[in-house]
């Protein structure tokens, strides 16, 4: 904000007032507004402006879902015989109560990599990893969608091929851990991707291998919940590793998850920051569904992670 502190954003209005007006502009209007003049463009595109909006309570959460597409429509009845599903991104905006579709990632115009992971981070959506939708080979692609500008950019590739890893974000960085490598070996590695620097850095190792684990951020910690080792295929563990952002260290916590139960897309944050299992919250949530926390709605987790063809709110 400082660079433009003393220039008028709106002629004849004091800077503060001009800033107040633009701060209240809904994100969907940012792209057009950034074409008005240089000062607006500089303001709307800078990271500090996002934080300013957030601090003054003018950002809001949306839910992003990976959904199966069929003939350009979201399919209700699954694939037809012989047809492989393709996946796209849909957004639910709880303020306008509207669903919308995000443009396809440029390199995958016909559908996202299968099992790719999503993370929401400072007004951006990060899509990473997954399998090539045609060859089923694991990919290292990273794409970043800026909601304000409604455009995709390519991020730096993931440093290694991994699938079914945990993901979480905090303060402009996306954390990943666990999953398995291209030879189906469960992993105990963790990495952090800095969006602004477009850079990957390795984290210390987890306390154990955690394939098909689930990630969730609670307070200042990235929880990597459950998962299993290479030798214990499918034997989901009850423990979690928690990465403290401040300390830069993992700590192991026992007994936070029901052993044997797959945590994928089912881990949520309940009251007092405790872990909850969505599928147990309400009988109306059918088995195999997944949830994301959206404010105080009993569904979801920020610009979060989910996979569902029929999600009914």
């Amino acid at each position: 904000m400082e660079a433009s502190e003393f220039t008028e954003l709106i002629p004849s209005l004091p800077h503060e007032l001009g800033l107040d007006c633009l701060t209240r502009l809904p994100y969907l209007s940012h792209r057009v507004a950034s074409g008005v003049c240089r000062r607006w463009r500089q303001l709307l595109l800078c990271r500090e402006f996002y934080h300013h909006r957030k601090q003054s309570g003018h950002t809001h959460q949306v839910a992003c879902l990976v959904q199966a597409l069929s003939g350009g429509k979201i399919s209700d009845d699954g694939p037809k015989p012989g047809e492989s599903l393709s996946y796209g991104l849909t957004v639910f905006d709880p303020v306008g109560r509207v669903w919308s579709r995000i443009d396809p990632v440029p390199e995958y115009p016909n559908g996202l990599p299968l099992f790719c992971q999503l993370a929401g981070c400072e007004g951006k959506l990060v899509v990473m990893g997954g399998w090539d939708p045609v060859s089923y080979d694991p990919v290292c692609d990273v794409f970043v969608y800026e909601f304000a500008m409604q455009r995709w950019r390519k991020g730096k590739d993931m440093p290694m091929k991994m699938s079914f890893f945990a993901v979480g974000s905090h303060s402009g960085r996306v954390y990943v851990a666990g999953g398995h490598d291209e030879n189906k070996n469960a992993l105990r590695t963790g990495w952090v991707f800095d969006l602004r620097l477009d850079e990957w850095t390795e984290l210390p190792q987890l306390s154990q291998e955690r394939d098909e684990c689930e990630g969730v951020v609670i307070g200042d910690g990235f929880w990597v919940v459950s998962g299993y080792g290479t030798e214990n295929q499918g034997a989901f563990d009850g423990s979690a590793d928690v990465y403290n952002f401040g300390l830069g260290q993992w700590r192991r916590v026992e007994g936070v998850w029901e052993p044997g139960r797959c945590p994928r897309s089912n881990v949520g944050v309940g009251k007092e920051g405790k872990l909850v299992n969505w599928s147990e919250l309400d009988p109306a949530i059918r088995a195999g569904s997944c949830g994301i926390m959206l404010g105080n709605m009993v569904v979801g987790n920020r610009v979060g992670v989910s996979r569902s063809s029929t999600w009914v709110l």
Partner: protein
């Protein structure tokens, strides 16, 4: 300040264009600038006229109308209710963009936080779904992009014009 049993106190305000306004004390005290005037001049006589050299009569009348209604809403415990939203919507509906700008400048000078929040929100709402040209004209903003930059920027938001309002 008014005490129980006394008649309602009236505050006198004089605008830049020389008009004298008589405003009920609770309404005038919504204006931070008036409030601090009396805080700093505790001995001010009851008929003291507060000069407002940066505000003219038209926006001041509009501001008094708004603050009066909101003081009453608060007194009736209606703050934040639909009634208030309805009043705000009606209030702003008839205001032109020019009037809106005058109001915001005046409210800024008088330092009325609640009204400023409402007015900046209104401006943001009026900019929604509008074209770049509309926004520039609305505020009198000069296009300072070079033709090459303009071209590049335009490409970026071009398809965002779908669904943009005609005006």
């Amino acid at each position: 300040m008014s005490k129980l049993g006394q008649a309602k106190r009236i505050i006198f305000l004089k605008t830049a264009d020389g008009q004298l306004f008589e405003v009920d004390e609770p309404v005038a005290m919504e204006f931070e600038i008036v409030k601090s005037f009396f805080d700093e001049n505790e001995d001010a006589a009851d008929d003291t006229v507060v000069p407002l050299p940066n505000v003219s009569a038209e926006p001041l009348a509009g501001i008094i109308e708004f603050c009066k209604a909101h003081v009453e809403f608060r007194a009736n415990g209606a703050a934040g209710k639909d009634e208030v939203k309805k009043f705000n919507a009606e209030y702003i509906k008839e205001k032109s963009n020019e009037q809106l700008k005058e109001l915001i400048l005046a409210a800024n000078y008088l330092n009325i936080k609640e009204m400023l929040d409402f007015l900046t929100e209104t401006i943001a709402n009026r900019l929604k779904n509008k074209s770049v040209e509309y926004v520039r004209a609305f505020f009198g903003i000069e296009n300072d992009f070079t033709p090459q930059e303009e071209e590049a920027v335009r490409k970026e938001y071009e398809w965002a014009f779908e669904g943009v309002d005609e005006d």
